[in-house]
């Protein structure tokens, strides 16, 4: 089984230096790419079927293809790696950032070349200190080796890259909020359209891609779209970093073919549940995805199949709910997170999330009423996609709406027993 993203990453996560990365074939894809017309690079990424690994799952090649090209377009254009991994329960980009920063940087340079960007940023969350050291060192090495600067890889293409370390807030992961943060402002989301591909950082065409997405790019250019397509078990190309956390025997992170079953991740890779614990449900792709339950264990963990089963692949990092953990408490923890991280820009999110969190607190404290469940259901509609400025509140409603569906009895027990049955 091929593991292009992680095969060279060491167990202690010390980063591969430029020399070590070059020995694995590193920067050959970049040398190849800068000899191609930029549009051809975009086409090859599009043909590979690569979809955004940050959660939304949009075609990467298609996104690049929306950037205005040619002479009479606004410049400078910008290319940004979103390394603001803050989705609760997600810990996949950290490995790529710490273990193989040059793989990301090469992917960014190739992407920047494809859209003819002049400046590039890694937008990193503050908490990833080891990643900050690795990226800083790797950018310096890439400059020294001529992969960044005036003549990238010996071509006429010029690109500068720098690291921005963010100062917190989940909102920064939303791409338009991220742009505001890079401009030194509050990270509120922007109205779309215009989309960042047309009007992004400082009003110029900008691409924002996730770390895992970009780390795939050198391999696609080096080995081709067909090879990439065959890595997966579905018609959505590539491998995927899958993780599991919670009361499983071996929590961890694994690079596996895209479309592997949830059962295989949990039973073979995570080693099954810890002794004395039963599986009750999972959030398949981070805190803002809908619960799946034991009836969904054979779902293929690709974008289309997880969506069909009523959830989202999201970040592919599975959070496991066991039978000794209260599902209402778990949802309450999540809604407190989302309420705290709401930027307050639009009303449904600013008012709806704290309201939701308070109701869940009341339920947990044994003070809930049956009408509260109706209010919670109302909230899931009130903060549905389309009613808010960005995806934060709709994402927050996903674990809630599915918990109300699958664990309704548990909500009702809190009301009838006037306490949390798990306490």
């Amino acid at each position: 089984m091929e593991k292009p993203l992680t095969e060279h990453i060491r167990n202690d996560h010390t980063w591969l230096t430029l020399k070590e990365y070059e020995k694995t074939g590193g920067y050959q894809a970049l040398r190849k790419a800068v000899k191609l017309p930029p549009e051809e690079v975009t086409k090859r990424v599009k043909d590979s079927g690569l979809k955004g690994r940050g959660g939304a799952g949009f075609s990467t090649g298609m996104k690049w293809g929306m950037v205005p090209m040619g002479k009479d377009v606004p410049t400078p254009k910008y290319f940004i790696a979103n390394a603001d991994e803050m989705e609760p329960g997600s810990f996949k980009d950290r490995l790529l950032l710490e273990g193989n920063p040059h793989q990301l940087i090469e992917g960014m340079i190739i992407g920047a070349y494809a859209i003819q960007a002049r400046f590039s940023f890694v937008f990193l969350r503050w908490a990833y200190h080891a990643a900050a050291k690795a990226i800083t060192g790797a950018i310096r090495e890439a400059y020294e080796a001529g992969y960044l600067g005036e003549n990238v890889g010996g071509s006429d293409f010029q690109l500068d890259m720098s690291l921005h370390i963010s100062q917190g807030r989940y909102m920064c992961g939303e791409e338009t909020a991220l742009l505001n943060a890079l401009e030194g402002k509050r990270a509120n989301p922007r109205a779309k359209p215009p989309f960042p591909v047309v009007s992004g950082l400082f009003g110029k065409p900008t691409i924002v891609n996730n770390v895992e997405t970009l780390s795939n790019v050198p391999h696609i250019i080096a080995k081709g779209a067909d090879w990439f397509m065959k890595l997966s078990k579905t018609d959505e190309g590539g491998t995927k970093l899958y993780g599991a956390s919670g009361r499983v025997k071996k929590p961890g992170l694994w690079e596996l073919p895209l479309g592997i079953s949830l059962r295989e991740i949990l039973e073979e890779h995570a080693g099954g549940m810890q002794d004395g614990y039963e599986l009750k449900g999972v959030l398949p792709g981070g805190g803002s995805t809908d619960f799946l339950t034991t009836e969904h264990l054979d779902v293929a963990m690709d974008y289309t199949s997880v969506a069909k089963s009523g959830s989202r692949l999201g970040t592919g990092t599975v959070i496991v709910l066991d039978d000794k953990t209260c599902p209402v408490g778990m949802v309450s923890n999540l809604e407190h997170f989302f309420a705290q991280e709401s930027c307050g820009w639009c009303t449904p999110c600013r008012e709806g999330l704290p309201w939701t969190a308070k109701i869940l607190d009341a339920l947990e404290a044994g003070n809930g009423k049956m009408e509260d469940l109706e209010v919670l259901t109302f909230q899931t509609h009130y903060m549905a996609p389309g009613n808010t400025f960005c995806a934060l509140a709709p994402g927050a409603m996903e674990p809630l709406q599915s918990a109300l569906k699958y664990f309704r009895e548990d909500f009702e027990r809190h009301i009838h027993e006037h306490k949390c049955p798990w306490k």
Partner: protein, 159 residues
Amino acid sequence: MTVEKIFKEKEIREIQEIHRHFPVKSAACIEALKVIQKHHRWVSDEAVRELAEILEMSPEAIDSVATYYSLIFRRPVGRHVILICDSVSCWIMGYEKIVDYLKNKLAIGYGETTPEDRFTLLSIPCLGTCDRAPAMIIDEDLHQDLTTEKLDKILEKYE
């Protein structure tokens, strides 16, 4: 009467160096706040006013940015800042016991600082190390797989 400035020359140079790189001065706001925090541990009202002059922004505009970002401290913090993850995987794995232990041992709550300014206790969203929950960061050090037994030894390292 002149008010004594709190910024040292070195700081001002660092801030000016940042805004040189941006198309507009105000874009340096967050980076400049980081510089201030590096030198003073937190960002005081006086610092906000002085930064406003340098970046040609209103103090209110600076403050709206400073108060937005949870890792810009607008109140004094201790020599060591404990940031404990309170997100979902750490919650499942029992972070609440860890927090209760810390609160008892240090005799402070969230947002408070111990006497002699040794520790400040804060929560932080998911630290991205969920396979090794519960987790916390002290200053820049990540501590994983926490148990109450481990905590005493960890805290000893921070004077």
